[in-house]
C-alpha cells in the first residue's frame, strides 16, 4: 500500500517551512508530504512545533519561509477560511467553541450558508451517530464536558467532508472503545480518499493507526518512519532523544487511615444538562492512589465540584476530610484542613491567565507559604515559593514573573501540580493530571504523584485516560451515569473489565432504575 501511495501526487506537501517567534524558532526547515488516503502521524513532544506546523497548514499562522503545495500546486493559505475552501479541516487541541451557544449554533458558525438550523441539527445527529460520537445538538456548549466538546469539534469538521483532516491529540478524552470506534471512522475516511494528519504523542495509537509518520523535535524533523515497522521505544527515541521514562511504582503500603470519605453522596445538578450524583461511596486512605475512570460527562465534574467545595453541598455529612464533615465548607476551609486540588482546566481555574506565576502561587499556597502578614502580601515569600516550584518541577518559563498564559499546557500543569504538592497536602484530588501534556512531563507528573503517595498522602485521581490510571493507581473505581462502582485493586482488574463497567454494568449495580433493555441485562449477567 505504501508503494502505491508514494507514486501518487501528494495531496499536501511542505518544503522548508520555517516560523520564528520572538523567543523561539517553532519550525525550522520542515518537510512533510501526505498522499491521498494516508493517515500520517506527526509525532513530537509538547513544544516540538507540531501545533505551529498545523496552524500554518490551516492558515492560522503565516510561515516566514517555505513552500506549501496542495495537489502539486503551490498555494498560499491566507486564513482558515481559505484552508477550508481547499478542503482542509482541523480539530484543535484547544477548542474554539462559544460556550453560550448550542452545539448546532456552534457548528453553523463554521459552515458557510448554514441557515436551516433544524436540518443542520439532524445532520449533526446523523454524522455523530454514524461515527460513534454521541452528541445532543440542542445542548449548550458550556454544559458539555471536555470530552463532549471535542466531539463537537470532530463532528463539525466531518460535516464539511474534508480532503485533509488534521487531528490534534484527538483521543485523549475517549474511552478505549470510543478510540477504537474513532479509528474505524478515520480508516473509513482514509479509504474514501481523505488524507489525515494525526498529531499525537501516544505511540501505541500511532502504531495501530498510522501508515506514515514524521517525527519532530525542537522544531526540526528528526526522522520519518512507517510506524507499523517500528517499536514504541524506537519512535520514542526519535521523539525525545532518549528512552521513555517509566514510573516506579511499588505496591501501596496497606493499612493507611481513611482520609477522604464520600458516604452516600447524592446531589442534584443545578445544570439541566448536568449529571445527578446518586449515592456515591468512596474512601481514600493515606498512602494510596485511588483512580476514578469513566467517559466524560458521567458525573466527574459534579463529583469534583462537590469534593473540592467549589459547589458546597446542603449537608455536611456526605464528605468527610480527615474525620471532619466538610460537605458545606467552601474550598478555602477544606484547603485549611489539608486538601489540595488540581482542576481539569488549567487556564482560568487552576491559574489566572493574566497573572504572573508568583501571583498564581499566592492563589492557593498563601497558607502553606505564609505569604500573607497583617493582611498584606509578602511578595518575597510569594516569589520564592514560585521560584522553588519552577526549579523542583522543571517548569520551562521566563521565571516567577512570567504570565501563566505564556506557558505551554504541560509546563503550566507541572507548575500547578507542583504548587499543590509543595503545600504537603494530606489529601490531594487531581483531575486529568496529564491531559494534553507531553510524555516527558506526563511521566514526571505521575512520578511526582507516586512519590507523594509514598509520603503518606491520600490521592484521588479522576482521569479519562485508562493507561494512566492503570499505571499509577492502587485501586480503581468507575463512574457512570452519576453512580460510582466499588473500587477494585488495580492488580486484580484489567482494561476489558473496566471498559464494561464504564457503561454502568458492574456487579451489584442498581441496574433496575437505569432501565436497561433486556439484552443489556442479559449481557451484564454473562459478564
Amino acid at each position: 500500500m505504501r508503494g502505491d501511495t508514494a507514486a501518487a501526487t501528494p495531496r499536501l506537501s511542505l518544503r522548508g517551512i520555517r516560523k520564528a517567534y520572538p523567543s523561539v524558532v517553532a519550525n525550522d526547515g520542515i518537510d512533510l508530504a501526505v498522499v491521498p488516503g494516508e493517515i500520517h502521524a506527526v509525532l513530537g513532544e509538547n513544544g516540538a512545533g507540531k501545533s505551529t506546523l498545523m496552524k500554518i497548514i490551516y492558515g492560522v499562522v503565516k510561515p516566514d519561509a517555505g513552500e506549501i503545495r496542495w495537489e502539486g500546486r503551490p498555494v498560499e493559505i491566507a486564513n482558515p477560511h481559505a484552508a477550508r475552501s481547499l478542503g482542509i479541516g482541523m480539530v484543535f487541541q484547544h477548542f474554539s467553541l462559544f460556550e453560550t451557544l448550542t452545539v448546532t449554533e456552534n457548528v453553523a458558525l463554521a459552515i458557510d450558508g448554514a441557515k436551516d438550523l433544524a436540518a443542520l441539527a439532524r445532520r449533526i445527529e446523523e454524522v455523530s451517530q454514524r461515527y460513534g460520537l454521541p452528541l445532543d445538538p440542542r445542548r449548550l456548549v458550556h454544559s458539555l464536558s471536555v470530552g463532549e466538546r471535542q466531539r463537537v469539534e470532530i463532528v463539525r469538521c466531518l460535516l464539511q467532508q474534508p480532503q485533509l483532516l488534521i487531528m490534534d491529540e484527538p483521543t485523549s478524552v475517549l474511552t478505549p472503545q470510543a478510540v477504537q470506534k474513532l479509528f474505524e471512522t478515520l480508516r473509513q475516511l482514509a479509504a474514501e480518499g481523505c488524507s489525515i494528519l494525526y498529531i499525537s504523542h501516544k505511540l501505541d495509537e500511532i502504531k495501530a493507526l498510522c501508515t506514515g509518520a514524521t517525527v519532530l523535535r525542537g522544531g526540526k524533523v528528526t526522522g520519518t518512519c512507517d510506524p507499523r515497522n517500528e517499536t514504541a521505544s524506537s519512535m520514542a527515541r526519535l521523539m525525545i532523544g532518549k528512552d521513555l521514562p517509566v514510573c516506579e511504582h511499588a505496591e501501596a503500603a496497606a493499612g493507611g487511615e481513611p482520609r477522604l470519605m464520600v458516604a452516600g453522596l447524592s446531589h442534584k445538578s443545578d445544570d439541566p444538562f448536568g449529571t445527578d450524583l446518586e449515592d456515591v461511596h468512596l474512601t481514600v486512605h493515606s498512602g494510596e492512589i485511588v483512580g476514578i475512570a469513566g467517559v466524560s460527562g458521567n458525573g466527574q465534574q459534579e463529583l469534583l465540584f462537590a469534593v473540592s467545595g467549589e459547589e458546597p453541598l446542603a449537608e455536611p455529612f456526605p464528605i468527610r476530610l480527615l474525620g471532619v464533615e466538610v460537605g458545606r465548607m467552601h474550598p478555602g476551609r477544606r484547603r485549611k484542613l489539608g486538601m489540595g486540588f488540581v482542576p481539569e482546566e488549567r487556564l482560568g481555574r487552576g491559574a489566572v491567565p493574566n497573572m504572573s506565576l508568583a501571583e498564581n502561587a499566592l492563589l492557593t499556597a498563601h497558607r502553606a507559604g505564609a505569604m500573607v502578614r497583617g493582611g498584606l502580601v509578602r511578595t518575597d515569600r510569594m516569589t520564592a515559593f514560585a521560584r522553588d516550584c519552577i526549579e523542583q518541577y522543571t517548569v520551562k518559563c521566563g521565571g516567577p514573573d512570567a504570565e501563566a498564559r505564556s506557558l505551554s499546557g504541560g509546563n503550566l500543569q507541572k507548575f500547578i501540580v507542583g504548587r499543590e504538592i509543595l503545600q504537603a497536602p494530606k489529601v490531594l484530588v487531581v483531575a486529568q493530571p496529564t491531559w494534553g501534556v507531553d510524555v516527558g512531563a506526563a511521566a514526571f507528573i505521575r512520578q511526582a504523584l507516586i512519590d507523594l503517595r509514598n509520603r503518606g498522602t491520600a490521592i484521588l485521581v479522576i482521569s479519562e485516560e485508562l493507561d494512566e490510571l492503570f499505571e499509577i493507581c492502587d485501586r480503581l473505581a468507575v463512574i457512570a451515569k452519576g453512580r460510582l462502582s466499588p473500587a477494585k485493586r488495580t492488580r486484580e482488574t484489567n482494561v476489558e473489565e473496566i471498559g464494561v463497567w464504564m457503561s454502568g454494568l458492574w456487579p451489584g449495580a442498581h441496574t433496575d432504575d437505569l432501565q436497561p433493555s433486556a439484552p443489556e441485562v442479559a449481557r451484564a449477567a454473562q459478564a
Partner: protein, 364 residues
C-alpha cells in the same frame, strides 16, 4: 466586503498606558473642531478651556478642590470594578453620605469639637455604605444586577435629599428656600490655602487614594478581588468568596462616595441643598477607567476631569457656550478611551468573501 474586529495576538503593553493620553489628545483635537463649528476661534477657546483655569492660585486651588471628590470616588469604585462589581450609583451614595454627615452637623449644632468633623466624615462614609449595601444585598441574595439597582437608587437618593431640605431640615430663617441651616464654621473642613476654597478634604482624598493603592496592589484581599475580576472560576477554585467580593466592591465605592458627599457639604457648600454635586459620582466612573483602575492613574485622571469642569465653566462665562460643553468633553474622553482600548486589543480588518478560485489565484 465587511469589516471585522480581530483579536491581536500580542496587545502592546506600552499602548495600554498610552491610550489615556491618546484619548486626551483626540478629545482636544475634536474639541477644536467643535469650537470652530460653533463659530469660536479655536485657539482662544482652547486657551479659555485649558489654560486660563490654571493661570492663578485660585484656579489651581479650584482644580484640586474639584479633583478631590473625583479621585476619592474613582478609587473606591476601582476596587469594585477590578472585581467586576459594577457600582454605577456613586452619585446616589454621595448624596446619602452628605445626608448622613450633614445630619450629624445639623443635630450637633453648638457642640463644636474638632472630633465632630471626624464623626461627620465617618457618618458620611457610613451613609454611602448603607446606600451601596442595598444593591450588594440584592445582588448576593437575589442575583439582581447591581448596575441597574445602584443606578436607580441614585434617583431615590436625590428625591430623599430634596424631601429633607424642603421640609424637615429646612432652615426656618431661610426665607422658604429649600436648604438647611448653614453648618457651624467649626464643622467645616479647614481651608488649606488662604483666600481660596481649597480645604482639608483634599488631604482626605489623597489619603483615600494612598489607601486604595495599598489595598489594590499590596493587600491579600485586594489580590482576591483582582482574581475574581480576571478569572471567576479561579477565585472559586481557590476558595475566595464571591459574596464577599461583591460586598467589599460595593461598600468600598459607597464609603468613598459618601465621604466625598460629606466633603462637598462640609466644604464649599456649607449646608444641605437640593443639588450638591455636578455629577461627580458619574464623572468618577470615567476617571476610574481613564486612570486604568489604578490609584496613581486615577490621581492624574481626576486632575484632567477637574480641568474639564473648570474649562466648561470658563467657556460658559467667556465664550457664552452652553453648559453641555462639559458633558460633551467628558463623553468624548470616555469614548476615545474605550475606542483606543478596543483597537489595542483588536485590529480592524476588511474581509472579502474568499472562494477556492480566489485562494488559488492569490497563490499564483
Amino acid at each position: 466586503m465587511r469589516l471585522k474586529l480581530e483579536a491581536r495576538p500580542a496587545p502592546s503593553r506600552a499602548m495600554r498606558y498610552l491610550s489615556p493620553l491618546l484619548a486626551a489628545v483626540l478629545t482636544v483635537v475634536v474639541g477644536f473642531v467643535v469650537f470652530s463649528a460653533l463659530g469660536q476661534n479655536p485657539l482662544a477657546a482652547f486657551r479659555a478651556f485649558f489654560v486660563q483655569p490654571l493661570s492663578s492660585t485660585n484656579g489651581v486651588a479650584e482644580l484640586l478642590l474639584k479633583a478631590s471628590p473625583l479621585m476619592m470616588i474613582a478609587t473606591g469604585l476601582a476596587v469594585g470594578f477590578r472585581a467586576n462589581v459594577w457600582n454605577i450609583g456613586a452619585e446616589g451614595q454621595l448624596i446619602v453620605g452628605a445626608i448622613f454627615g450633614g445630619g450629624v452637623a445639623l443635630h450637633m449644632e453648638g457642640a463644636a469639637s474638632s472630633w465632630l468633623l471626624v464623626a461627620m466624615v465617618l457618618a458620611g462614609a457610613l451613609g454611602g455604605m448603607v446606600w451601596s449595601a442595598i444593591p450588594a444585598f440584592l445582588r448576593t441574595r437575589f442575583n439582581a444586577s447591581e448596575i441597574l439597582t445602584s443606578l436607580m437608587l441614585t434617583y431615590v437618593a436625590a428625591l430623599l435629599l430634596s424631601y429633607l431640605v424642603h421640609d424637615p431640615w429646612r432652615d426656618p430663617q431661610g426665607f422658604n428656600f429649600p436648604q438647611s441651616k448653614m453648618f457651624d464654621d467649626a464643622l467645616l473642613f479647614p481651608i488649606l490655602v488662604e483666600a481660596t476654597r481649597l480645604n482639608a478634604s483634599f488631604l482626605v482624598a489623597l489619603a483615600v487614594v494612598a489607601a486604595g493603592w495599598v489595598f489594590i496592589n499590596k493587600s491579600f484581599l485586594g489580590y482576591q478581588m483582582r482574581v475574581a475580576g480576571l478569572a471567576d472560576a479561579a477565585a472559586r477554585y481557590a476558595g475566595f468568596s464571591a459574596t464577599r467580593t461583591v460586598w467589599i466592591g460595593m461598600l468600598a465605592g459607597g464609603a468613598a462616595a459618601g465621604m466625598a458627599g460629606l466633603a462637598e457639604v462640609a466644604g464649599p457648600i456649607g449646608q444641605l441643598t437640593p443639588s450638591i454635586s455636578p455629577g461627580y459620582g458619574f464623572a468618577a466612573i470615567i476617571v476610574a477607567f481613564v486612570g486604568r483602575l489604578n490609584p496613581v492613574g486615577i490621581l492624574l485622571a481626576s486632575l484632567l476631569m477637574s480641568l474639564l469642569y473648570l474649562g466648561g465653566e470658563q467657556a460658559q462665562m467667556e465664550l457664552r457656550l452652553p453648559s453641555a460643553i462639559t458633558g460633551l468633553f467628558q463623553g468624548m474622553l470616555l469614548f476615545f478611551l474605550l475606542g483606543a482600548d478596543v483597537l489595542i486589543n483588536y485590529r480592524l480588518r476588511v474581509v472579502r468573501p474568499v472562494r477556492v478560485a480566489g485562494a488559488t489565484e492569490a497563490a499564483t
